[in-house]
């Protein structure tokens, strides 16, 4: 039983990171109807931004206010990077076919991976301890405070996102644009601003996910975004791409399934199981768990 609880927490903390990345995929898809494959690299850049910010601020020992500052700076930097990518790579292709944009996204992804190797070096680097990790026992299971921090931060960020999307003017605009881009622009909504804002939100969430991931797994390298990015993409498809609660639930499910596969079955299937889920979902329910044909997309 204690082993089960421990695996459950392991899976939840991994899953909430996938959920944060998946939200970025889903938001961009909701508005622009294409998969931003460079999103996993924004996650990687978030981790490196955290590392260099910590170095620049001289953070060596655990320090909660400093950790928040690092998180904030990283979210701002990744938001700027996300918007820049959108302006330089995707905006000129706004009226081209979806396939062109998709291939461009893959190109941007590879470009960032190899640029990262050039700038940061290919060898993994150790991420500093910015939050003290305390282990405590619950029903025989040992839970690290890091895992709880990750889960709670992810929930808070998702609630903030929900508030922005449901209760602000910009959120209403995002929902309008995702419903029908042309109609929204005819109603006087500035499409470019909405798209930029979507990239700001999505990229800052990916940046935050990069920091949370590095707190839990403190070894970062320029190719680290690849697999979590793909898994988060699967999570977004699983939840119904374009659907906001769907991405969150999809992320948690992928994290749990992966952890239980490794813990109780075999680690050989860790990555295979996620892709098997993708294939099954596409065969059985292509709209995903929460996707309906006419759902209000975000």
């Amino acid at each position: 039983m204690s082993e089960f609880i421990q695996q459950l927490i392991n899976g939840l903390s991994l899953g909430s990171i996938y959920a944060l990345i998946a939200l970025g995929y889903t938001m961009v898809y909701g508005i622009l109807k294409f998969i931003n494959f460079a999103h996993g690299e924004i996650f990687m850049l978030g981790a490196f931004c955290g590392l260099y910010t910590a170095k620049a601020l001289g953070v060596d020992a655990p320090d909660i206010p400093m950790a928040l500052v690092i998180l904030l700076i990283t979210m701002i930097v990744t938001a700027v990077i996300g918007v820049t990518i959108e302006k330089l790579a995707y905006k000129p292709l706004r009226n081209s076919s979806k396939l062109t944009v998709l291939i461009t996204a893959i190109g941007v992804s590879l470009f960032l991976q190899y640029l990262g190797q050039l700038i940061f070096g290919a060898a993994p680097q150790s991420f500093p301890t910015i939050i003290e990790n305390v282990s405590f026992d619950i029903a025989g299971a040992t839970i690290g405070s890091n895992q709880i921090v990750v889960i709670i931060s992810a929930i808070l960020l998702m609630l903030a996102l929900r508030f922005i999307v449901m209760n602000t003017k910009m959120g209403t605009a995002i929902r309008a644009v995702s419903n029908n881009l042309t109609a929204a622009s005819l109603m006087g909504i500035n499409i470019n601003n909405v798209i930029s804002f979507t990239f700001i939100i999505g990229s800052s969430l990916a940046g935050a996910a990069g920091i949370l991931y590095s707190i839990n797994y403190p070894s970062i390298d320029p190719l680290m975004g690849l697999l979590p990015g793909l898994k988060a993409f699967i999570a977004a498809v699983l939840g119904g791409i374009g659907n906001f609660p769907g991405a969150a639930v999809g992320g948690i499910i992928i994290g749990l399934v992966e952890t239980f596969t490794v813990g109780y079955f075999s680690p050989t299937y860790r990555d295979a199981i996620a892709f098997a889920i993708l294939i099954i979902i596409l065969l059985v329910k292509p709209t995903g768990l929460f996707g309906k044909k006419d759902i209000e997309k975000v």
Binding site: N10, A123, Q147, Y217, P218, S219, M224, T259, Y264, P267
Partner: protein, 381 residues
């Protein structure tokens, strides 16, 4: 027409410059070319960097004493980025383009196994400084090594676990994609259970994984007295941190793949305190040869050498010795002389190459103390 002229001029320039560069690369008659392939970048970058430094010292030393056969030794180094596929490309390049007479490489067994068949087919002798998987030298009679092999390393750690750590119930965490790790784990299981030990659990991971908590949680449920992790330092660093986070407090022990200054980076410094691993040489060893080497290494690179650099230095020196005895740079002659190496006084011990082209040498066990590696004991073959 104008455009055609422009393009053809451009092509002329490209081809002629390629020719000029190629001409520069031509073998100089006063040089002996030695090839090296190493993981200068990638996830085990310190393996390649250390062995490269060690080999560079060996080359410098031989050249300062007049070289071999009246010629200077020139080292051509290629980075394989820690990838087996890249290894094949760079070894082909060393043999076919650079026309090296012998090759030194690699530390990681899976990469040595990728490079060895190409050297064997081209009849170019290859010496691996630190690949311990037995299958590396069985690839052919041109492949040698200057270190011990994994069945011996498994015996060392089995003995050490039972006699010094006083543990009999052990769990294994193995890198399933890595020939070094799986081979060592198989040997360890066999020898450890043969000595009366018990394997409670065997979990697997793949190099490059970041999340090991699921495997470690399963191991924790079995309650072992120690965990044997025959893996590379990058993964062991993360594993140790996560093991402590989920409340696994038992000691960890491993093999020479742990040998890197990066092993104890970050939080792993505390997580690995009191862990043990077997390796080839200890910098605490008072032997004058070792201390003199450490001094030279520090003077040149401004840091402490690790076992990989010691071994690469020895690999280089044994190769130069064999070329000297062969009297020429024919692959077959160098190979025959290498095979005859007996009681060579290397810095990592007296080296004798046996009929399987492996070196027979003692191993040392180091303890991690305050982020440093401290000598614990020597176990002879």
């Amino acid at each position: 027409m104008n455009k055609f002229l422009k393009i053809s001029t451009l092509l002329c320039i490209i081809f002629s410059s390629a020719f000029i560069f190629n001409a520069c690369n031509k073998t100089n008659d006063n040089e002996i070319l030695i090839g090296e392939y190493a993981s200068l970048t990638g996830s085990e970058a310190t393996f390649g960097q250390s062995s490269h430094n060690g080999l560079e010292l060996a080359v410098e030393e031989i050249n300062s004493t007049g070289g071999i056969l009246g010629k200077q030794v020139k080292l051509i180094t290629e980075d394989n980025q820690g990838k087996p596929s890249e290894t094949q490309t760079v070894v082909q390049k060393l043999i076919n383009r650079d026309k090296v007479v012998a090759i030194i490489g690699e530390v990681a067994s899976s990469r040595s196994k990728a490079g060895a068949p190409i050297c064997q087919a081209a009849k170019i002798p290859m010496i691996t400084p630190a690949s311990t998987n037995p299958e590396v030298t069985t690839i052919g009679d041109y492949i040698f090594r200057v270190c011990f092999i994994d069945p011996f390393q498994a015996t060392v750690m089995s003995k050490f676990a039972i006699n010094s750590m006083k543990v009999t119930k052990v769990a294994l965490l193995v890198d399933q994609k890595n020939a070094y790790s799986t081979g060592l784990a198989d040997n360890f299981k066999q020898i450890f259970t043969g000595m009366g030990g018990e394997i409670l659990d065997e979990q697997k991971y793949s190099a490059g994984d970041k999340d090991f908590k699921a495997q470690l949680t399963s191991i924790k449920a079995k309650n072992p007295e120690a965990i044997f992790i025959p893996g590379y330092y990058t993964d062991v660093n993360l594993i140790s941190i996560q093991a402590r986070e989920i409340g696994l407090t038992c000691p960890l022990f491993g093999s020479d793949g742990w040998e890197s200054e990066k092993l104890t980076e970050g939080k792993a410094k505390d997580a690995l305190e009191g862990s043990f691993f077997s390796t080839h040489v200890s910098t605490d060893d008072p032997s004058p040869k070792i201390q003199e080497y450490i001094k030279k290494y520090k003077a040149k690179y401004n840091k402490e050498p690790d076992a990989m650099s010691f071994l690469a230095y020895d690999a280089g020196m044994i190769l130069f010795d064999a070329i000297k005895k062969a009297g020429n740079t024919e692959g077959v002659n160098i190979k025959n002389e290498l095979a005859k190496t007996k009681d060579y006084p290397g810095i990592t011990g007296v080296i004798t190459i046996n009929e399987d082209r492996n070196a027979i040498k003692p191993a040392v066990v180091l303890e991690v103390k305050d982020g440093k590696f401290v000598y614990k004991e020597t176990i002879a073959p």
